[in-house]
């Protein structure tokens, strides 16, 4: 394994130090317990939006802390959920008296740690609501569905609602609707190398790809032969749109996400096929996002997310945002 690091144990810590140094106008990085918080938190009377998860998915979540998106993010070690004390500390530091919304990806570890944090915060007199994101249609059983690409979209949408002064219920409602209206599926061409493991977490032959992968280096739901990107997009979009029951004329946000080691050249090629596919099925791409927004270290591959838009979600998506990784309107 070759990485630009000082050592396996320093990876997350060094990256957080770099993040703090790079974006002092946007966020602050707190240590022991670790969390990243908007520079102006707590904002009195505003709902705080908090997410978190294992590191290794950058820019998710720390890169989404800032105006109009996350109030705080709790980064765990690589691919390991953060601990309740991180979440509790972030909750306290961002408490503006209007309640806190946790955006939790549907993984056993994330759920349990946020659950314990909720118990602690509630015992402390704070008001917590949670939205669980499980958009990965690669998993047949709905309750088991992992949170993947939709997480980024939901964080943006919930953050915009909080920024314009929506109540906790209101923020939770739009976040849940965005979650309900989005589905994803991914494909890997290579596994990623987790620093602590030191070798790729699974092996793929030179003519094999893994369909339905997660973002934690775990293998997917089936292994198939390498195919042209047009065919791959047909599978991904087909599975996503079926599950979402998209109908002709539906407006969508199409999100093509790189998993870390896939070139932008390829990602725009993927988006070209997604757009072709949507046109063929009379789905209208009203907004799009193409790039590395939720990665799996150095995995090669992508996820495709479709979010069915309505005017409210569209407005929230378009609202100004100023974070290290997502920025517009300011």
């Amino acid at each position: 394994m070759k990485k630009l690091i000082n050592g396996v144990d320093a990876v997350v810590s060094d990256a957080l130090a770099g993040l703090a140094r790079a974006h002092p106008g946007i966020l602050r990085v707190m240590r022991d317990p670790d969390y990243v918080v908007r520079v102006d938190a707590p904002v009195q009377g505003r709902v705080a939006i908090i997410s978190g998860g294992g590191s290794g998915h950058e820019p998710m979540h720390t890169g989404y802390v800032g105006y109009g998106m996350l109030t705080a993010a709790c980064p765990g070690p690589i691919f390991t959920s953060p601990t309740p004390d991180q979440i509790l500390a972030a909750t306290r530091a961002t408490n503006g008296g209007a309640g806190t919304l946790y955006i939790v990806k549907n993984y056993a570890g994330d759920l349990m740690n946020f659950e314990i944090a909720t118990e602690m915060a509630t015992a402390d007199g704070m008001t917590i609501a949670s939205v669980v994101v499980g958009d990965d249609v690669a998993i047949g059983i709905t309750e088991l569905r992992r949170g993947v690409g939709a997480t980024v979209l939901i964080e943006k949408i919930a953050g915009a609602a909080a920024e314009r002064g929506a109540s906790l219920d209101e923020c939770a409602r739009v976040a849940r609707r965005a979650a309900l209206q989005s589905r994803s599926m991914g494909v890997a061409l290579t596994a990623c190398t987790i620093p602590a493991l030191g070798h790729p977490s699974f092996q793929l032959a030179d003519d094999e790809i893994e369909v339905g992968i997660g973002i934690h280096g775990e293998a997917g739901c089936r292994r198939v032969g390498l195919a042209p990107v047009a065919a791959i997009v047909d599978w991904l979009c087909g599975a996503v749109a079926d599950d979402l029951r998209l109908c002709a004329g539906d407006r969508v946000l199409a999100f093509v996400n790189g998993l870390g080691a896939t070139s932008q050249l390829e990602l725009y090629g993927v988006f070209h096929e997604v757009a072709r596919w949507c046109t063929e099925h009379a789905f209208v791409i009203e907004r799009n996002l193409v790039g590395n927004y939720m990665t799996s270290l150095d995995m090669a591959g992508c996820t495709v997310t479709l979010l069915r838009l309505d005017d409210e979600l569209l407005q929230l998506w378009d609202a100004p945002v100023l974070t290290p990784a997502l920025r517009w309107g300011m």
Binding site: G54, S81, T83, G109, N113, I116, L144, F202, E218
Partner: protein
């Protein structure tokens, strides 16, 4: 035989050592059906626990277990952190203030820990998790004690049940935790959480020699 704070501290020391020595093995198991962090996670947690033990020698058993649970909660993360953390804290809460334990209290503490895992994990037996190792162990121990079996022998029986439970996860298809994402592809691999539970049980029973021969089997079985 009675249990004292000393016993508990030595158990935790042995647990930390075993987790450290088997950290890579646990991570490799997790790489096969999870995300390759189980060993590193637990090792981080038990190392933190170890660092606190010196300050705990004069505390009661409940406090030691509670501090252990809190420490695991705040350092392990992932799924194992809340599960083991909750288990230790539940046992600690039950034994608050106690400095010496009878077998019956030990059974009650283990049952509380088990119940903590069940509730936190919203899990049943047969889902290919640590519970599949823990539950048979606690049940075997409880039944043996109830039948008047001596503590040492009851512990041996319980450990054998844990080990069997651990191995029984191999043919299971996971329906909880990350391994569940793999569906049928999770079959054929031993659950990392069940494996760490086995090492913790070994530490509890304290039969380190027996463990050392066993652990080679475990590795080679993987």
């Amino acid at each position: 035989m009675q249990f004292t704070v000393d016993h508990v501290i030595r158990f935790l020391e042995r647990a930390a050592a075993l987790i450290r020595d088997h950290s890579i093995e646990l991570t490799e198991l997790d790489a096969l059906i999870g995300d390759a962090d189980h060993g590193a996670n637990l090792n981080r947690g038990f190392t933190a626990v170890l660092a606190k033990l010196d300050d705990l020698v004069d505390e009661d058993i409940g406090t030691v277990l509670d501090v252990t649970g809190r420490t695991l909660l705040s350092t392990v993360g992932g799924a194992a952190g809340p599960l083991y953390g909750t288990a230790f804290r539940r046992a600690g809460a039950l034994l608050a203030g106690r400095r010496i334990l009878e077998s019956a209290e030990l059974v009650a503490a283990l049952e509380a820990a088990l119940q903590g895992v069940v509730e936190r994990g919203k899990v049943r037996q047969g889902e290919k998790t640590m519970l599949d190792a823990i539950a048979p162990g606690v049940e075997t121990f409880r039944d043996a004690i109830a039948q008047g079996v001596l503590l040492e022998e009851a512990a041996r029986q319980a450990l054998a049940a844990v080990e069997q439970g651990m191995r029984a996860t191999i043919p299971m298809q996971a329906t909880k935790g990350r391994a569940a994402f793999l569906g049928p592809r999770s079959i054929g691999h031993q659950d990392p959480g069940a494996t760490s539970a086995y090492y913790i049980a070994c530490a509890m029973v304290g039969d380190v020699e027996r463990l050392m021969t066993r652990s080679r089997d475990v590795s080679s079985a993987c």
